[in-house]
Symmetry: D2
Subunit: 395 residues, 4 copies
Amino acid sequence: MSAQNPVFIPGPTNIPEAIRKACDMATLDHRSPDFAKIFRPAVAGVKQVMGLRDGEVILLPSTGTGGWEAAISNTLSPGDTVLAARFGMFSQRWIDLCQRHGLNVEILETPWGQGAPVAAIEAALAVDATHRIKAVLATHNETATGVKSDIAGIRRALDAAGHPALLFVDGVSSIGSMPFEMEGWGVDIAVAGSQKGFMLPAGLAILGVSRKALAAMETAQLPRTFFDFRDMLNSYAGGGYPYTPPVGLINGLAESVKMLTGEGLENVYARHARIAEGVRRAVAAWGMTPCAVSPELYSDTVTAVVVPEGFDGTAVVTLAAEKYGMAFGVGLGEVAGKVFRIGHLGSLTDAMMLSGLAVAEMCMADLGLPLTLGSGVAAAQDYYRGQGAAVRAAA
Amino acid sequence: MSAQNPVFIPGPTNIPEAIRKACDMATLDHRSPDFAKIFRPAVAGVKQVMGLRDGEVILLPSTGTGGWEAAISNTLSPGDTVLAARFGMFSQRWIDLCQRHGLNVEILETPWGQGAPVAAIEAALAVDATHRIKAVLATHNETATGVKSDIAGIRRALDAAGHPALLFVDGVSSIGSMPFEMEGWGVDIAVAGSQKGFMLPAGLAILGVSRKALAAMETAQLPRTFFDFRDMLNSYAGGGYPYTPPVGLINGLAESVKMLTGEGLENVYARHARIAEGVRRAVAAWGMTPCAVSPELYSDTVTAVVVPEGFDGTAVVTLAAEKYGMAFGVGLGEVAGKVFRIGHLGSLTDAMMLSGLAVAEMCMADLGLPLTLGSGVAAAQDYYRGQGAAVRAAA
Amino acid sequence: MSAQNPVFIPGPTNIPEAIRKACDMATLDHRSPDFAKIFRPAVAGVKQVMGLRDGEVILLPSTGTGGWEAAISNTLSPGDTVLAARFGMFSQRWIDLCQRHGLNVEILETPWGQGAPVAAIEAALAVDATHRIKAVLATHNETATGVKSDIAGIRRALDAAGHPALLFVDGVSSIGSMPFEMEGWGVDIAVAGSQKGFMLPAGLAILGVSRKALAAMETAQLPRTFFDFRDMLNSYAGGGYPYTPPVGLINGLAESVKMLTGEGLENVYARHARIAEGVRRAVAAWGMTPCAVSPELYSDTVTAVVVPEGFDGTAVVTLAAEKYGMAFGVGLGEVAGKVFRIGHLGSLTDAMMLSGLAVAEMCMADLGLPLTLGSGVAAAQDYYRGQGAAVRAAA
Amino acid sequence: MSAQNPVFIPGPTNIPEAIRKACDMATLDHRSPDFAKIFRPAVAGVKQVMGLRDGEVILLPSTGTGGWEAAISNTLSPGDTVLAARFGMFSQRWIDLCQRHGLNVEILETPWGQGAPVAAIEAALAVDATHRIKAVLATHNETATGVKSDIAGIRRALDAAGHPALLFVDGVSSIGSMPFEMEGWGVDIAVAGSQKGFMLPAGLAILGVSRKALAAMETAQLPRTFFDFRDMLNSYAGGGYPYTPPVGLINGLAESVKMLTGEGLENVYARHARIAEGVRRAVAAWGMTPCAVSPELYSDTVTAVVVPEGFDGTAVVTLAAEKYGMAFGVGLGEVAGKVFRIGHLGSLTDAMMLSGLAVAEMCMADLGLPLTLGSGVAAAQDYYRGQGAAVRAAA
């Protein structure tokens, strides 16, 4: 794999220079007041990106998986029931995690390619008169299928049912790239990871936690120490950290939120939407479709491209890596082989995206798919040039 | 705090250039075969550093605390009994973690400044005819007091008692700096962190796991997902990782073990011993003593210097930071205020250490302690120049 | 300008990660033996890249312009005559430099778009019975027009005329990217710069000097100190440097030659040829032509694309920078406005090049040129995929 | 040589992290408007550091030697007379350069250890009724002997003699570390290098040029192209550069002047004076003396320590490098073997300096010099702690 080409995996993303330099720090004494000078702006910026006003941000030296575990272990007790839809690899994994931790998961099976089933969620909540369901788990952006779910709709479903369950959202591959409104949507815990929209290396789970979720941690019985919010918040209050923090990553996060808010979150979202739409137009020009079954489900951070019957989507990814030194994502789980995935999030320009589309085309042509070289690129070019590319995109 | 001076905290350590550059990577697709090319030499090198032949190395995007949690949650079940001595802040924290996870901890209270009480451990094991004790927890190097414990002795105690308990060792601040022999000492799980002897930024828990401990994971009932060894080992077998790995840190670890084995582990240990002895001679020249109560307990990675009655050790640390831009460690827990700590592990030269001693002296003089400026430095100089400094120390 | 996109200027080129890290060094005492450990492999590698066996390599903290000045001031005396063809901005500048330094330049005026006129050179030498001409100056790759000259032909012309003049070649934008044979072509001084095929930042003039040229330095009367070969060679002999050397750049050069020879010079040249041919096919698909008037003149490092009459080539460059954050080169001198230039040298992949072609297309479409979006990209894709892209290109 | 220890050579200095990161740039198109955004603040900051108001700053991809050559070749003509004192290796080298370029140098021989002889200069000017002397050359800080000269005194001498000669000052190892006043002292050309007080890698000659010197360039007949101020200034006016500039170094210079002016030039000078005085107190404690013969000559950037008769100063430097991995400077020219040099300029803290003094002591003790270990360190400690160390020193 060439280290010269951008990556088009759905995270980790390409890391901007300024963030690489911010992460690459000499050792700083994390028990000195200097640590808080890094930590506090990072946290303040995350709140802005998440749309969180009243609540806390928790930073864990971990990943999205650790963020999921922290969300449930800090708020729930063994035997508690949670409601979750399964419609992709990442929603599946969170369900699995809950089960391993002794929760009872009420699973709403949903075809891959669709989003979280708002009506079914509302129905499940409506019948739960005893409020057995303690939390609703939702994957905002299912990275396996390129599907965006309607979190505001789930909030409405909770409200309509008058149900007090907590709302936990996996925003790992959406936060920082697509609009996310913790307060507006009444999200109780939002889980993000450093290596997606925040454009950092992997290694940090980033959680937004509402007051309501914080209250739940007082009674939660699931064991936790490394992930314990109480230790975190106690330490944060004094400008510290309960154990040795990954200072460089947190410094990088401070830079990341400065870049995102400097570009303007609306501009960041518009850039992701523009680049994504160019990809989708290329997909259409190839005569193919996204895995997401309808336009309102289209993710602006990843497109899972459905390959023709009889064709192995994984072959595109393998050939791109081996012949052209470029990384795409394979299909996972139920859609393994049926799709290949183009990540288009984080630090990207239209020009970079066009190189990804050009390579995808060459690979598919190499593999005998009947498409016209340049067709997808041209469709994206045509769209991009009409939109006015954002030269100032997070550099 | 000046970023120009070396740090003398007992971790994170000063990071060598080569390691900083290895960590600072462009994004690499962790699902590509390139990942294994980084991961495998890192793991092989860790085995060498830990003295592990038959067993597995687990790398977790976490810290030493996460490593402790992983050790117990992968091998034990709620209600299990573990035996542990409490003789410092870090042994205390591991005990607390076990209790939070529902284990029954049989605690051997031991004065701070002493090491793990081998005789008491042997006695406790001897009376445990039913083998209620599932694991013995030992802190190899208690970072709070600068005390090294006799792990080989604990192994002998287990053997003498014919007791089948697992032996878990916290080697966070010893591994890579002081001799450590997983096989030789019959250690079942050794926990290390990236930010000490491995000279990396924080963010990686590094575990060595024996076959016996691996067998225990099949029956362990403590919940875990993020830390689950089974997922790890299944993924490693195929050159992968169960979730997004911190590739840069692992690449840095590969560089670290190359540096350590390139210098020669015996040379690394000798360098640490030499630098530490210089520090202790300086302490003696100041008319003070280490917190560790006898020479065989002296740690080669950190010295907790006992300050005179009525004097606040924390003031040395504060003044050093504020006036001289240099970081030392404060006393923690029972010895808060009674000691200040000089970290002397990782990437250090004699010359760097002398600057730390010189600053400590100036601070103590500034604070009115009756010592002679230059006295500690001279004692260390005299020792170092007789030993032949290691110019080739991990650069 | 976005720092995320590759640059497509004809130098400085994109800098590979490994070279950036090699250049970014802590201070090293250049009077210590450590300096020679960096300097010597750099020099040995440059010899290999230049095809120099019997002679010396000189490294000057300077640029190509300084290299030109060093070439003449170390070998010639005021009033000496040199023979040079003028067929582009860089051949013009070298002529101007000679004139400023008091040389008499016999200029062979040659249309821009053509190469060094071998027949005219031979004719000029043939009539120079008194050997008034002390040196022939030739620009191997005229960066302004994208024209490659026939240096072997000039050597044959010299030999045919039995003329003893020195042969000085500007290989700034060819060496390391296109075949160059100092010995084979009888080149007496070859001038290269760090920021082209060597993929380094600007700051180093790299000269190959034959024995014959070294002999000339004994009698040369042009004043020089900073550029004096004698001081250089005297210092090199002892592993030193006559003044403070740019150690980081030289370390980067050592890495560069390791990368070039590691990839294999033949592979490096083939990669440049492949990428260049793709660019030319794109140009043809756009209905345009290179400035170079015939195929044997086509440069493999830069293509000057002739834009239609009435159209301003500079506008493409300006729009690409402002709207798409991508850098191309403007036309210079006689061809200002008539061409825009696409640099395709150094650290590049096919995928990167396709992003450059895609942006050039969008710009030309934006500016109203009647081309089909995707047409040039498709032509290049078609060519590249047939050639088997070099994933392992200098990373 | 260990890369972990600071260097104590009189340049290049230790490079601060922020400057290393500023220098380490991805390629930026130097013909785009982005270049001026880097160049202009760099130039503005240099003016501030040099105390230059009415004149120009010239940045050359070169070194101090190139700066000297540029100073004379842009202002003088073959056969012109210049007046210069010889009192160290660097004043000697500038004289040699002038002679090689065809100037007539009137040399005032001055013992090494003394500074520029103001009275003798005045006398020489007074007798030059025909104003044969076109320029006076002065070395502000003679790096070979650690001697600071009185530039204001030379200006007074010129004024007293009513002599119109230009005043050229080598400020390579003083500017940015010691007070320098181009306007106040009536300096016509000041020559600095990137690798001393500016704390950058070598590779940039930095010149301040007065209006009077700029006027001289119109009539100067010495040949120059690479160093030609006219090309430079023409290009600067349009935000450009006459050839490919070393963009990273210039970006680093912009960071450097931001750091220097951010710390406050007075604070920078006071820090250098404080650290230097500590070194001199250590030297006195060792029973030795600086090469500079009287206190008003003491340099604040380098101390040449005179070793006892019969002792080889070079041995200290060799042993420090080989045994302790630390770099000092050897004696040069007339004082070779008689001194060793301690550089104390650029990015340094008191703590770093103490490590240098401690190592120098160990080396001298190892070599049998009858000093007390710790004595020099203690003298410096005593001084530093009374002065209040500058934690915020250029980090």
